[in-house]
Symmetry: C2
Subunit: 245 residues, 2 copies
DNA sequence: GCTTCTAGAATGGTCTAATATTTATATTAT
DNA sequence: ATAATATAAATATTAGACCATTCTAGAAGC
């Protein structure tokens, strides 16, 4: 039979609500920080039950469009969309074994040098100060693995911001989230040593304003650090495989 | 005040259920294709109401871990995680104006040539045949814009698969999803003409087995096509700005 | 006047129970 | 045999009650 007709998509009630509200937010009917009507009001307006509204609001929350607060003056508050959901999606793919660390590294080796190169073209006094502060913080004695990772990653975040490309920034943030989770999940203290001063050379190259030098320095850093990550992934997958059922 | 204490996270019941089931799936307790217990059974096992279970299952569905089917033999079926959610996250960021087409193009210009280069190293008879079929299909008279875009993008999907890097493949799929949505949303027939034969040179370069040639050919193609996309974004944002409230 | 406590009200969170809808399968009628 | 129908099991939806949380305003105490 010729494919003339399209199947009726038996949409759920909450899906309709979800899309209408999402569309409304994207169109700017509700600004960031603004509050949606209460569940009871929405239920009346959409002529559906509160549960349907609840499902839609939960979906909006999971998608990163709103934040739900309880209590009087509570409700759904529109928030500015961040790169959070993107990072979660990448993380899930890694957890489900759909992407591996070597694959991620190959991408990182492509992205990070380019980010550093672009950053070198956008140096200004503010960025310069932030980069210098970041590497100085790195060289203080570490408080905890968690804090240590946070401080070391800050350097990459600043460069990503400097690149001036939010798409690249989004990818970098996702890559780093993946890395952070891996490091913290294994928590293999002695083995995981991100040596202090590792970033110093990259910062110098970026601040010199030369894209070529910045790319080269970042490439060397990524390669060096990548080796540690590959070891970490092996430890991680082993740890997971041995987990009690 | 020193940050000694951590805030109590007043977790929702459904969140606990969500994480337990998700963890369970990741650990392989339920294989892809397998069915979770019914809502009523889960409610009994977790000692919570069916509503809490429902919310958790909906969240799992939204995250791409399960598919919920209705009717007898229905329920939550575990599915293999795909790149779908990732693409949705990127799309939302674009819709919310958090990333622009020029930014995306800069990334595409970085990714696609690399993909083509890697693909050139992984040519085999199967891939060769699929690529040739793809470009031949492209040169038939177009049926609809929708079909046309689908056929033209197929070429990129094959190359992404050939790259052997699923992370790169994920990014390419996201980039293409964004592109597809933009093209279809504007649906600016006469302006949007992806000329037939545009991919032919890239295919030749890839099949020649030379990464350098493949990179170069893809770079030229991306640059050429990118110009059209920039025009499209302007048309798109204008269209959106004029939408009735 | 200032702080602290308390009560009220609005809101999301959860539960229960009933009904509707969907769908695969078994049964029955032709 | 084939088509129509009934059955059963599961999700989808609704309604209504009650719980938990949180802000606000006013009362109480100092």
């Amino acid at each position: 039979m010729a494919t003339i007709f399209n199947p009726i998509k038996q949409a759920r009630v909450s899906d309709g609500v979800f899309h209408q509200i999402k569309h409304s937010i994207l169109l700017g009917h509700f600004k960031a920080g603004g509050r949606l009507p209460s569940e009871r009001e929405l239920a009346e307006e959409f002529r559906v039950s509160r549960m349907a509204i609840r499902e839609a609001l939960r979906a909006l929350e999971l998608s990163g469009f709103i934040e739900i607060r309880q209590g009087i003056n509570g409700g759904g508050f529109v928030v500015d969309l961040t790169f959070e959901q993107l990072g979660n999606a990448f993380l899930d793919l890694f957890l489900a074994n759909k992407i591996s660390i070597p694959e991620m590294l190959q991408v990182r080796l492509l992205i990070e040098p380019e980010v550093a190169g672009l950053a070198a073209l956008n140096v200004n006094t503010d960025f310069k100060q932030r980069l210098n502060e970041a590497v100085e913080l790195e060289e203080l004695p570490p408080i905890s693995l968690f804090k240590d990772v946070e401080i070391k990653q800050n350097f990459h975040f600043i460069l990503a911001e400097m690149s001036g490309n939010r798409f690249l920034e989004a990818i970098v943030r996702s890559l780093l989230k993946l890395t952070r989770n891996l490091v913290l999940a294994v928590d293999d203290g002695p083995r995981f040593i991100h040596p202090a001063g590792m970033h110093r050379k990259v910062v110098e190259a970026v601040l010199s304003g030369s894209p070529e030098e910045a790319r080269g320095a970042m490439k060397r850093h990524t390669l060096e650090f990548g080796q540690k990550l590959i070891e970490l992934e092996i430890a991680y997958r082993e740890k997971m495989a041995l987990l009690p059922f």
